[in-house]
Amino acid sequence: MTMTSFSQSPLPTAAFDREAWTPLLALSAREVFDIMLGTRLKQQPPSADPHVGEFTALVGLAGSLCGVLSIRCADQSARIMAGKMLGMPPEEVDNDSWDALGEIANMIAGNFKNKLSGVGNNCMLSVPTIIVGREYETHSLAGGHTIEVVFEFEQQLLWVTLKLQE
């Protein structure tokens, strides 16, 4: 596995490496779904199609990695996720679907940063934020990089996206 090198400053900035980080992001997501939901995610090829889905969970990263990790999916997918985490039918899940999606985003972000050598100690995560709705766009005020992995979950797509500032 390719490891990323870092400068020796007190708060080193991780050197972006798309080739190495994209599979690590996918692995981070697959591990969370495998361990916490008992579900094996099927990765899909990247697509330029617009993202659809009513729920987005965002987790901020600050420190040696600065940016936002998001996971976006359909309402029904979020309910199924919460149901699997809680061991209950999706139709009985209420606002827990928001909470569950936020916690999944949090675990993927934490799992990802802990897989990057030297990053975990110098990168903090925010508490998750949930966006409900389809029609929105995000714009970063700083230039940066985006990594995205697409999965199929219960016959629906979900997107895990990491937007990093330079």
Partner: protein
């Protein structure tokens, strides 16, 4: 197995339920209190005694590390075993939590077996 009074501190209600379920799967006979951050947990501990605390780190209002720090300043709470359950799994966080008085550390995502493996020893079971 003896009856255990546990306090679960996490801002995610889903995660509190998962932790509780994992503790029950470990065979513990439980009574559970829940709090969504450290300040709320300290409030509950004013009027309740517990045998075990499981706490997240990254929470609003009062995070888990400050919560553990505050526990050590209260005579009746200092001896209560605390196990951190968190995504903040970096080595520095583990060292800091243990130096503040936590007895164990579980990284999210976790399996019920990992909860059992870390929690039963701190209860002497």
């Amino acid at each position: 197995m003896s009856h255990i009074r546990a306090l679960i501190v996490d801002d995610s209600s889903v995660m509190r339920k998962i932790v509780e379920r994992s503790l029950r799967q470990a065979g513990l006979d439980l009574a559970v209190l829940e709090a969504s951050n450290g300040a709320e947990a300290l409030g509950l501990l004013d009027t309740n005694s517990v045998d075990l605390i499981l706490s997240d780190i990254n929470m609003p209002v009062m995070d888990g590390l400050e919560f553990v720090r505050q526990l050590q300043t209260v005579d009746k709470l200092r001896g209560v075993p605390v196990v951190m359950i968190t995504t903040e799994g970096s080595e520095s966080n583990v060292v800091q939590a243990l130096s503040l008085g936590a007895k164990g550390y579980i990284r999210k995502p976790f399996t019920p077996d990992q909860v059992k493996e870390h929690v039963l020893p701190v209860l002497g079971l």
